[in-house]
């Protein structure tokens, strides 16, 4: 199996490198609209094949799958062509510009029995998989809140705002860990240099009292990548800037001692040990690439499949609508 990688910009080189060293991948064929970038690609990756047009790439029989690392506005047209040409498809995040585009891509992929995957790389990190494990085996208890901060200086994007740029990472982590269907989204933002929001806050509600919140900011003097998860039994701080102890699990919480009524509750604080479980530090991207390759081989769904990609876009779309309505809560309940 060979993989076609489309787009050799910021992320493309990482895909090429990982596909080249994936066991079941025999070769990588790269396409980029810019000849200059294609030349750079060939120089940087000896053994890399290139295609002169997207059509040429799709026409190749030995290329079974296409990975698309181009601006989001092109995900749908390029992806749809790939699926229609019978290629398995990996899309960079976010999956597409709208839920409707996602829906159509999923439909065609299912009809043609093709793997459709979105590269939500963070879901494949050892840190996120460890949190998922703690949630799944019930150790965290019921999740009460999910609070995420992803801020730093730059990189300003011209074709998108900070919500579509940064939030997909944390929304995909949240979706993977929580696994429930959100009921509503609200977002507030502010613009300072163009008509695109450079700072924004997104709230996501679930049917129970679980509240998720996301702070994304392109103008912070300090780089923060931190998620706080409050479970009824344990609480987790996931700090991606920590070099090794990325996850800290706190045996802390509030226990209800006496509850006369909803108006009168006596709580007790519980504070025990903290521990930082050892986490797998393998490159997440190589695991994602492996999941894609194995899904193609075996026919099973990859972890971050089209449906999980669409769930992220659904929240982004609602957040965008809320931004335009000054923070109004947008219902996600059909």
């Amino acid at each position: 199996m060979k993989i076609g990688v489309v787009g050799f910009g910021y992320w493309g080189p990482n895909l090429v490198r990982n596909f080249q060293s994936a066991p079941s991948v025999e070769g990588v064929v790269c396409y980029d609209a810019s000849d200059k970038r294609l030349a750079i690609a060939k120089q940087k990756f000896p053994g890399l094949e290139v295609a002169k047009t997207y059509e040429e790439l799709l026409a190749r029989k030995d290329v079974e799958a296409i990975a698309i690392a181009t601006p989001v506005s092109t995900h749908y047209p390029l992806g749809m062509k790939a699926l229609q040409a019978g290629k398995h498809l990996l899309l960079e995040k976010p999956m597409a510009e709208s839920v409707e585009q996602c829906r159509q891509l999923i439909e065609v992929a299912e009809k043609n029995k093709l793997v459709l995957m979105v590269d939500h790389t963070f879901v494949y990190t050892g840190a996120v998989r460890k949190i998922k494990e703690l949630v799944e085996n019930g150790r965290l208890g019921e999740i009460m809140y999910f609070d995420s901060v992803r801020v730093n200086l730059g990189l300003f994007q011209h074709d998108t705002n900070v919500v579509w740029d940064l939030a997909p990472h944390d929304l995909s982590i949240m979706d993977y860990i929580i696994g429930l269907e959100p009921t509503g989204v609200s977002a507030i933002g502010s613009t300072h240099f163009s008509d695109k929001e450079d700072v924004a806050y997104i709230s996501v509600r679930y049917a129970n009292q679980l509240l998720a919140h996301f702070h994304v900011n392109w103008m912070s003097p300090v780089k923060v990548r931190k998620i706080l998860i409050g479970g009824s039994k344990l609480m987790v701080v996931y700090d991606d800037m920590e070099p090794s102890e990325k996850i800290r699990v706190y045996d802390k919480g509030v226990d209800i001692k006496e509850r006369e009524s909803i108006y009168k509750v006596l709580v007790e604080y519980r504070t025990g040990d903290m521990w930082a479980p050892k986490i797998d530090l393998n490159e997440a991207l190589s695991l994602m690439v492996k999941d894609f390759a194995e899904a193609i081989k075996s026919g099973r769904r990859p972890t971050t499949d089209g449906r999980s990609g669409m769930k992220v876009v659904k929240i982004l779309e609602a957040a965008q609508a809320s931004l335009r309505q000054n923070g109004a809560m947008i219902s996600l309940v059909p």
Copy 2:
């Protein structure tokens, strides 16, 4: 001049201690509804006088001013009686339960030419005054955002939610530093143990694109007290958990290099030195107490006067309304 301190619970002892060592204060007279607490007060503070009833306290001629450190629901009735008895008045934060209560207190104080002050202690910290100085002398440039996080485990309050409990600190800091009139407030929260929100997010909008945001949480495994301020020239991180370098000023930002239109802007990142200015580490409470005493003496307004206290309550009241409307933006424009 003697000061009457009402309420010897969590904060009262701090007021007694600071008033006792204030230069212009001759003595402190304490009143608490609980005889047991009054007895503790006398034991802890030798030389402290006590009053058996609030009326007895107000009737004393030598008591010129009253400081009230009781639950917020009693601020208005107790405070109004003090003003009507001709006493200068210091109220703990938040000032009262509603803007209307604040308005009436201000009216009576002004009519009777009495000092009316709210104990927004943080405004008197060296850290906050240093930030104010940087803003006032223009070094920060135009403020683009103000982001505050105040989270920890407990203390759950029975008569109030996390917004009324924790946000007054940061709202008063914001009001002091920014000084403008907010135009709208929205708040989203969640309840897990009673009918009071234990986690909440508040957004405050201003006429320009300045956006302020507050994260308050009673259920965080880690204690965070951090404010991020993005100015067009400098950016500030104020971390109150740092023992000495509470403020870090970053010469970082985004400069517009070329602006063809609002849709096409070329920005350039600027990263220079960071510095932590030396800040006054005197106890803020003693400065607040001094400001109160001097305001009484000289007839000038204290920094955190009734009007600034009312501005905080105005935002709290709007946040409460927004919480009930699932985050709808509540306009503050008349």
Copy 3:
């Protein structure tokens, strides 16, 4: 039982406060050579008795024990008088100026069946007791090294150097945790403002390859209080500047995979979880005071008795000798 506290300077007030609230102590009688300080003591602690001379204090029948918080040069003469007057004795750290002084104090105390204790407060902290527990139950394995850093700006002492001022804390912690007899001491220092060392490094050797090392410095721009302990099974970082998670235990180490000879060893690294055990945050001083009172009552030895105090002085004395000999190793083996 009443306790006589001698010296109301930096540490004396802490002793008075803790003795006053100790259950088995009926009263505290204070003596200080300065009338002014005695007056401050009376004002600060209502109910405190005072003695006009040290002799008056020793003559009191109701005073069963004496606690001495004066400069180290006076520990021996004042302490000896107390023991000779039949009083139990608590000495501030370091116990005395020389091993010989310590020996004599121990001798008299044992002869008169009096409790002799040294206030090595850190030994009573929850953090140090937790480490001791991990060592005692074998979880750390064999200790390979003990590395301590205690540096900050000031307070310069006039009558002593940085070794005698700061190292007693860490030497007492080491002695408590390791419990073995050191075999040699070497120390190197430097003087910049007077003839007293303001920065110094002390090495302590044990019979096996266990090496302890202490960095003490009065001129550091940052305050560090950190101990690293390398066990063959677990490793510990004790950071006393951390507000809550003072101890971190690392499941990290080196395992010998193959050992052909001492010249050819194949090692393997082991890295597992880190955890921060919950530690008792009760004030260490109150536990020390309690240990003293209970030792008097029951006749048992307190944890930091005269012998443990003498072991610390033995190292200090050897370190001082080594400083004078430019770091020569001073043997402690008889």
Copy 4:
């Protein structure tokens, strides 16, 4: 000019990469005793030439300079051959196994008018150059102490101890910043797995009261790379683990207020702002490589020339002697 790189192990690939992108270098020819490693080198670096023997490499006319990245025991024989063949020479740190070897290499290089350089990469970091600048323009004042900690878990070396492995980095930084001739060295260490020290402490004395100290440890659960420099005017903390603010400069210190005699000094503490100057984050290795190339071209000395490499080996040699004599001070004064 082409460069011959000898040794394609841990560090060799970094040299190849940097030489390949250095402006004045036309090509890189690699030699490694292992054919397997040479094959890897060719695969990894397209365009790389290889030599089958060291003699073949030295015989090439187009190769003007040799960079040696092999175990330290081979530096002298390989390096001497290169110099004798008329090649400029870059040696990895430490320069050689003894001062005598260094002396001979310097002699031959000078006689043959060849550049002789040692790759003390840290000297080329923005952080170290910034500290040097602060020292040179007198802002730090007189340096009182230099304290370095470089500890982590592994990598155990079979042919050397932790002193020869880790200390060269910090010794070269110290030599570059301080620039004086040390007068004595003492070192204490401990062995736990083989006959090589895995933890050690090195003290370096200078003619005045300047004291330098180095803690190196292969068995620390946490990775620390920190240097503390106490100047009479400013103090510096250089933390290489910090992602961006690697240097913090503290306006802190001790001022002598009154000095009656060396026995009676009244000091005053000075605490002002802290600042983190922006530092150049360019890869140090590329600057080192550039310095080497320019030194060859222009005939000037590189910053880390043979003499500075020999000064580091002089201290290592003395430290080794001191280790064998249980910490005895080894004089460096002729």
